[in-house]
């Protein structure tokens, strides 16, 4: 039964690995916060991540599952712990396809202007 579940999961993962899943995963403030947390410190446990989130462990797990399905987070088991790592490879692919390709120059000019006016790159 365990094996069967794993196989089903892998098939899910494969289907979910497209740009739609990346955008969906990014379209939520909690999941973006999780990525920010991993960017600050890579390789955190669920417990460490939950310390910074105002939600139940189970809800956090669901968000992390969506990030994993989009391949934005990868996990490694170390003993009894499961460590979470940010995986920016799909972000880079989205960047290549949806940002860099279009109007590169104009985008950077706009970005510069925004930075100039706001004094911040957020």
């Amino acid at each position: 039964m365990q094996v069967f579940t794993c196989i089903l999961l892998s098939h899910n993962r494969v289907r979910l690995m497209d740009a739609d899943k990346v955008f969906k995963a990014l379209g939520d403030p909690t999941r973006r916060r999780l990525l920010d947390l991993l960017c600050e410190k890579n390789g955190q446990t669920l417990g460490e991540l939950c310390e910074h989130l105002d939600m139940a462990r189970q809800s956090a797990t669901q968000h992390i599952d969506l990030l994993e399905a989009a391949n934005l987070v990868s996990t490694v088991k170390r003993g009894r712990e499961k460590l979470h790592f940010i995986n920016p490879v799909p972000l880079h692919e989205v960047y290549e396809r949806w940002v860099r390709k279009f109007e590169r120059q104009r985008l950077s000019l706009l970005h510069d202007l925004k930075q100039e006016l706001e004094g911040d790159d957020q």
Binding site: G43, H92, E93, D112
Partner: protein, 155 residues
């Protein structure tokens, strides 16, 4: 030994290819130069040296290290240091390439660990690997890599 704080990165990409092709793309200079702009040069035997060489006329050696483990086509472990720090054992980090078949694809996992936290190397590799792995995927799936040295036009 002084204790140093280390950091790790784990990068995963799924490539429509075979483990053999992915392994060759990492270890064969004539393929690596097409998507990485660099060649990884070694006889790929455990204990041997390897060098990461810019594939241009200058052929600058940018990374050096030792081959730790070679199991074609599923696993390759190497150490990794800047040539200027090659004499300092503490400057070496470790890169593990894990290559698994995954349905009709390959799941490539690059684990870069034992990196000094906050070091220039940690910063550099965290910007570098996503670009290199996207480019590798692009080469193996479409026949052409992306320009890994690309910068924004107005920068």
């Amino acid at each position: 030994m002084t204790a140093r704080e280390t950091t790790s990165f784990v990068y995963v990409t799924y490539i429509r290819s075979t483990p053999e092709k992915v392994f060759e793309a990492i270890t064969r200079p004539d393929i690596a130069r097409r998507y990485w702009g660099h060649e990884n040069v070694s006889d790929w035997k455990p204990g041997s040296k390897w060098e990461h060489i810019r594939a241009n006329d200058e052929r600058t050696v940018q990374i050096v290290g030792k081959v730790v483990e070679v199991s074609p086509p599923t696993r390759l472990v190497i150490t990794w240091a800047s040539p200027s720090q090659a004499s300092n054992p503490a400057s070496y980090s470790r890169v593990t390439f894990g290559i698994e078949e995954y349905d009709a694809m390959v799941r490539l996992t690059v684990t870069h660990d034992e990196l000094e936290a906050g070091s220039g190397m940690a910063k550099g590799i965290s910007q570098g690997w996503p670009v290199v792995l996207s480019s590798l995927k692009s080469l193996l799936e479409t026949g052409s890599g992306i320009d890994v040295f690309a910068k924004p036009k107005s920068a």
